[in-house]
Symmetry: C2
Subunit: 222 residues, 2 copies
């Protein structure tokens, strides 16, 4: 089989999604979590990707699915131990992303010391917008993200509230996990996360740059 790799369709061939938790102090507080002193990392598999036109599916085991709107950073040039000073040279562009989270399951995982996989890595847990070339977001540390559920604003926050900046995250992650072309980094969510239900319509955007929308369905039990 032959695959042609076009960065504007990174979700078709990219090999990893690295997510940062608690990267906005006001969101850490709303979930009663401490503001971290180093980035909290977790993973989603590429099978979690979903693009506009396909629905977000509530897992059969979840009764409290939350939206988290996040700026995604698409890696253009891989690297290990990337210095902060040159980190932005590794960025091909961005995507608006949702870190869909089975909050009820995450709470159980946290209390039992279990990995977050069931809460974070299920199919359709990573809705993404079209690819945004880096030129369209000159400063990823100063853009406003928003998310509406059924036309009601739920999240609106500026990336200037991030605890760890995009270059900091790229440098930190690449010291532990080598970054490759097509990888995606989810940089955390501002406050306002809340539950979504079957038949809800989610709309999200980055001001003046992109919007996207997704319907929520329930995964049928097999």
């Amino acid at each position: 089989m032959i695959t042609t790799r076009n960065i504007s369709r990174f979700w078709e061939w990219g090999r990893k999604i690295i997510c940062v938790g608690r990267n906005y102090a006001d969101h850490a507080k709303e979930l009663n979590n401490p503001v971290p002193t180093e980035p909290v990392l977790f993973l989603k598999p590429p099978s979690a990707y979903v693009t506009q036109g396909s629905p977000i599916l509530v897992p059969s085991y979840c009764r409290d699915l939350h939206h988290e709107v996040e700026l995604g950073v698409v890696i253009g040039r891989g690297g290990t131990d990337i210095p902060q000073g040159s980190a932005m040279d590794h960025v091909a562009g961005y995507a608006l992303c949702l870190d869909m989270t089975a909050r009820d399951v995450q709470d159980v995982c946290k209390s039992k010391g279990l990995p977050w996989t069931l809460a974070k890595a299920f199919n359709t847990s990573c809705p993404v917008s079209e690819f945004i070339p880096r030129e369209r977001i000159p400063d990823p540390g100063n853009v406003t993200l928003w998310l509406k559920v059924n036309d009601q604003m739920r999240q609106k926050g500026c990336t200037d509230q991030m605890v760890f900046s995009v270059p900091h995250l790229i440098s930190y992650i690449s010291g532990i996990i080598t970054l490759e072309e097509g990888d995606l980094i989810l940089t955390g969510t501002p406050r306002g996360v809340s539950a979504v239900q079957e038949h809800d319509e989610l709309q999200a955007g980055i001001q003046d740059v992109v919007t996207m929308s997704f319907k929520v369905n329930r995964k049928e039990h097999q």
Copy 2:
């Protein structure tokens, strides 16, 4: 860029590694964990792969790196909601794998309710053998795995001690996370896990099928 996908080099292009924890009762007990009633899943990224000839690197933040020898299942045909009865049709073959674990970091993650990423997903955390075509392991539920450190036997266990069988794991995982060609499932480790140090030599094998060896180095701090 063009990539040719040869299943015998799945680590070069496979997109996910799904690991099962506590799948041998005697290993769950040695770490004082309950024997699970459903599989415990966590992820490694493909950047964790390392093959013979390259060293296992102790992360700079780890003071207690453990070996876990495991049977890896290489997916040949993807699927979602795969029934147990046809699960083995999706297997292309196997690999002997090590689930290298920063046990000290994992203990902190468990006690703080944090994801296991730093403990499990770092570079070189997934050493793998050559690809083993499925014909060479007619019954993955009855093979003996072993691991030696510096010629001393540390782990030796038969896959007949698994809590959840290979077909059960494939069916369970695929109901949550779609499986794709080239994916790897790590099926858990028997008892005998222990710490390795810089300059140690690990040897591991599946009886009558494969052996592999890896040296341990320390990752230089950047």
